[in-house]
């Protein structure tokens, strides 16, 4: 069993159903055992939450007295006070496991979405992609089209004459980045190739810097 398979059956695991294979994975895998520990903590805190949020009977009495003094309660109700009867409070007890399940489900969803977050951040159009010499991150395709398009539109609105020059420069620096990353991937131990990746991104940053410089047209 791997982590993905284990995380898919997390809900059942918390409902008490676990087999030997799952237990063995949990013992061997620090990531999944950490996740289970976190979710278990959330579940315990959720149970205590209900107790903490329940006001004491004195609070209810004080509210009732204040409301009567203000004349907002004119007729005495059948019950002696606004304090909910014990039986009614027990009826609300079903909320505790429901809240626990909701919190666990939420936790699982957040955990599973975790690794995808940086991708969506990297696709933010306003920012220039940071220099990345890390080969793992360079495997992701360079999402430059939207960014470049926005930049060219901004340049064109200020100075249409130079828009073509910026387009050509962007095309060239993007080719530079592709070559540099391919070269670095071909030989991860080649320090100079890593440096060239930085150089290529620096070139792109320069194009953006010049284009977005508001003090110049």
């Amino acid at each position: 069993m791997n982590c993905t398979e284990f995380q898919e059956i997390l809900s059942e695991f918390f409902e008490g159903g676990s087999n030997d294979e799952q237990k063995a994975h949990l013992q061997a895998c620090p990531i999944c055992s950490g996740l289970v520990a976190d979710l278990d903590l959330i579940a315990r805190e959720a149970r205590q939450l209900q107790e903490f949020n329940e006001p004491s009977p004195r609070v209810w009495n004080s509210i009732e007295i204040a409301l009567r003094r203000e004349g907002l309660i004119r007729e005495r109700q059948r019950g002696p006070s606004l304090v909910p009867p014990v039986t009614r409070r027990w009826h609300l007890a079903w909320l505790v496991p429901v809240a626990t399940v909701v919190l666990i489900t939420f936790g699982i969803l957040v955990y599973q979405r975790g690794p995808r977050e940086p991708q969506s951040v990297a696709q933010a159009p306003a920012a220039v992609s940071a220099p990345v010499a890390n080969l793992q991150t360079s495997k992701a395709p360079l999402n430059v089209n939207n960014e470049d398009q926005q930049l060219l539109e901004a340049v064109g609105s200020r100075s249409p004459a130079v828009q073509a020059q910026y387009a050509s420069n962007l095309q060239n620096v993007n080719a530079y980045i592709r070559d540099a990353e391919a070269s670095a991937q071909a030989d991860p131990n080649d320090e100079e190739a890593q440096q060239v990746v930085m150089d290529a991104y620096e070139q792109r940053a320069t194009v953006y810097e010049m284009a977005l410089d508001r003090s110049l047209p």
């Binding site: 050509s168 420069n169 060239n172 540099a180 100079e192 060239v196 070139q203 320069t206």
Partner: protein, 281 residues
């Protein structure tokens, strides 16, 4: 009849010259600064030329080519800021300002322009020059940082001694004549790089271009530890180098590495598809 026509022509020329002269306005500003002042000039259209002055005066002479542009100037302590302020509906012609500036030689200077020539000479303070289409010329600078950024302008540096030189040129060619320093770095996407000098005595030189050719000329007594690589282009070497170990596989025709004399300076030349030539002068 011919005399009358000639007289008319001369009158028109005189009138046109007078109109042009009337449209140009000369302004002069003077600032007194302390040692190592910081001078910044931003000029959208038009050249900026900076030379050393005697004493502690910054003298700015600006030729405004129309009334569509103003000069904003400000001095805060030891910092002087000059800005060409474009008014509405300004073009490259009407917004043009030509600057002639004299600064104390130890001042650090920042010049920025889009189209005009940026020129600095005779200084020993830091020089920072930026311009998208502007050509850049830097001469006779010593013991200072020289940082240049340009998109397509030609960059020419000559007689830079003991410099910390960083040039980023996306598409413009870069020419270095007698440039030495502890650190000389040129990075370009498609510009050609030409170096002509002796690589000093104990510096680091890194010249890289994605598609541009790199040509470095040095005397036979240059003291260098050189590495040259072109991924898809050719490399040529005129020097008898002592072989040395490299962290990459040296493929004949696309890379070479070796040392010469005492190998005092490190020289790295890198291109993807440009040709690299280490020439003997």
């Amino acid at each position: 009849m011919a005399r009358a026509q000639r007289a008319q022509l001369v009158s028109i020329v005189i009138l046109a010259t007078a109109i042009c002269a009337a449209a140009e306005v000369r302004k002069e500003f003077r600032f007194t600064v302390r040692p190592r002042a910081a001078i910044s000039i931003t000029n959208q259209y038009g050249p900026i030329s900076v030379r050393p002055s005697i004493g502690s005066q910054v003298i700015v002479v600006a030729i405004l080519h129309s009334d569509k542009v103003e000069i904003d100037h400000d001095q805060n302590g030891n910092r002087v800021d000059i800005l060409s302020h474009l008014l509405s509906e300004t073009t490259a012609e009407t917004g043009r300002v030509d600057y002639e500036v004299m600064v104390p030689a130890d001042a650090s200077v920042t010049l920025r322009s889009t189209t005009g020539l940026l020129r600095a000479e005779g200084l020993h303070g830091d020089v920072i020059l930026e311009g998208s289409q502007a050509n850049v010329e830097v001469h006779d600078i010593s013991n200072a940082h020289v940082h240049v950024k340009t998109l397509n302008g030609l960059v020419t540096l000559s007689n830079i001694r003991n410099g910390h030189v960083e040039i980023t040129s996306v598409g413009g060619n870069v020419v270095l004549n007698s440039v030495s320093g502890p650190h000389v770095q040129v990075n370009s996407t498609s510009g050609k790089i030409r170096y002509d000098g002796d690589f000093g005595n104990g510096g680091e030189y890194y010249l890289a271009s994605h598609t541009g050719d790199i040509e470095a000329s040095a005397p036979s007594d240059a003291s260098i530890d050189v590495t040259a690589r072109s991924v898809r282009g050719k490399v040529e070497n005129d020097f008898p180098l002592e072989p040395k170990h490299t962290p990459f596989a040296v493929k004949a025709g696309s890379a070479f590495a070796g040392t010469m004399n005492k190998a005092a300076s490190s020289v790295r030349l890198f291109s993807f598809s440009g040709k690299i030539h280490l020439k003997k002068r």
